[in-house]
Symmetry: C2
Subunit: 234 residues, 2 copies
DNA sequence: CCGGATGGATGAGTCGCACTCATCGGCAGA
DNA sequence: TCTGCCGATGAGTGCGACTCATCCATCCGG
């Protein structure tokens, strides 16, 4: 140490660990992964670069830990909130809405997740991947329950619906976030739920439905008329 | 130049440009953007790093040019292929299928597109972005035509459906590609078209309604035939 | 009160890689 | 044969991730 320099501040291991994690989150969010320098993260805490590497093996591990911590935050009260809603469609909409809210609140963390982590070669098998699976598992369960309740068709593969929902949100939100417009998450959630549940195809028009119903009514009337009791009574 | 060294091979500007582009595409695909060294791209052509920078301002510009070139390849015969198919649903499925094929054939280029380019701050306004818009515009037009033909509902926002399709394919294919499984693009295209068109909700499609009505009519006829009065009357 | 062990923190490195620039020298046109 | 053009060179420069030998405050047993 140089003469006249203050002695370094020594902190307990866990305290320093948490401090670095918080500082890293801020810097990564402000600058993005590539532009964030480990030296800057260290500087904000008044320590040198080497100190960070005492706690994290690499810049990437630091990023992973930041995102793991975020997932823990998010997973917190999912199950509880979901339990308060009845009906597969309403629960599906809730999951979509909550995800949209996360994207809106933490666009930079989402960006890190999508760009840096999920595209990595060894993402599969990582802790973040496991947490992402837990996160999306809620949706799979909602779909399964929906099928069990007869609300959803059984022949649609759940993994595909999950990917269309989360992938769709990602694309859609990205446009909005980069375009600097803010997300109307209520409306988007409604629309996504509408597309997923009802699809794009034009329904049988109400007229057809009426027609068929009237046909059925005439058939019923015919049967009634031909019943013995019917004639006997009259 | 050192004594005894061979004089450098001089090529016409366009020739060298194309060579660098091709070499860059290979190296980027093999190693990914970060791991690809400009020096290696140069080395494969037997030139030095500086030469590459005579033709491209930066490594990122090189990446952009590689992807622009790819988009040109893909856009080539889209319109023609699409014109050969009738029916909004069938055309939608064609677009999904073709996109899946692109992803399957060039997973590394997709990866570069998603990870490196689309997540960039200044992606919007770039040439690649414009080409991506042209690419996805085909789908928007199919949706619009579908609405005009009465095949699709008018109240569904097209941009959202576009994002759910392309985002969904991205997510779904990613799982498969990283999981080393290969894509059954025919089946996936069918399923995506099914979800998008018909949705998840259980319901009786119009065709089924007709069918059921006819069944009931036949049952009614059978009842009528077996009734004593019926026989008596005849 | 003392001396060694512990372990948090240091800071001066190394290394790899994107990017630059002064310079070279083959070749086409005068 | 001269000359200017321009493709190519290769020795830098700078930056940022990562390393390592070393320092020293604190704790603990004697």
């Amino acid at each position: 140490m140089k003469r006249g320099a203050k002695p370094p501040i020594r902190l307990a291991r866990e305290q320093r660990f948490g401090d670095i994690l918080r500082a890293a989150r801020k810097v990564f969010c402000e600058k993005g992964y590539d532009q964030a320098a480990v030296a800057e993260i260290a500087a904000r805490l008044g320590v040198v670069e080497g100190t960070v590497y005492k706690y994290f093996d690499s810049k990437r591990e630091l990023l992973h830990k930041v995102l793991e911590h975020w997932y823990e935050e998010m997973l917190g009260d999912y199950a509880r909130d979901l339990a308060a809603v009845v009906g597969a469609r309403a629960r599906l909409r809730l999951l979509v809405w909550r995800h949209l809210r996360s994207v809106r609140e933490h666009p930079q963390l989402c960006r890190l997740m999508f760009r840096e982590v999920r595209a990595e070669q060894d993402y599969r098998g990582s802790r973040v991947h496991a947490m992402n699976r837990r996160y999306t598992q809620f949706l799979i369960e909602v779909l399964r329950d929906g099928v069990a309740a007869g609300e959803f068709r059984a022949e649609i593969p759940h993994a595909l619906v999950r990917d269309m929902i989360y992938g769709g949100i990602e694309h859609h939100a990205w446009n909005h976030l980069c375009g600097r417009g803010d997300l109307d998450i209520d409306r988007i959630a409604d629309r996504i739920a509408a597309v997923v549940c009802d699809g794009l195809a034009a329904r049988a028009p109400a007229a057809d439905l009426h027609l068929e119903t009237e046909k059925l009514a005439r058939i019923a009337a015919r049967i009634e008329r031909s019943l013995p009791q019917h004639r006997a009574r009259k």
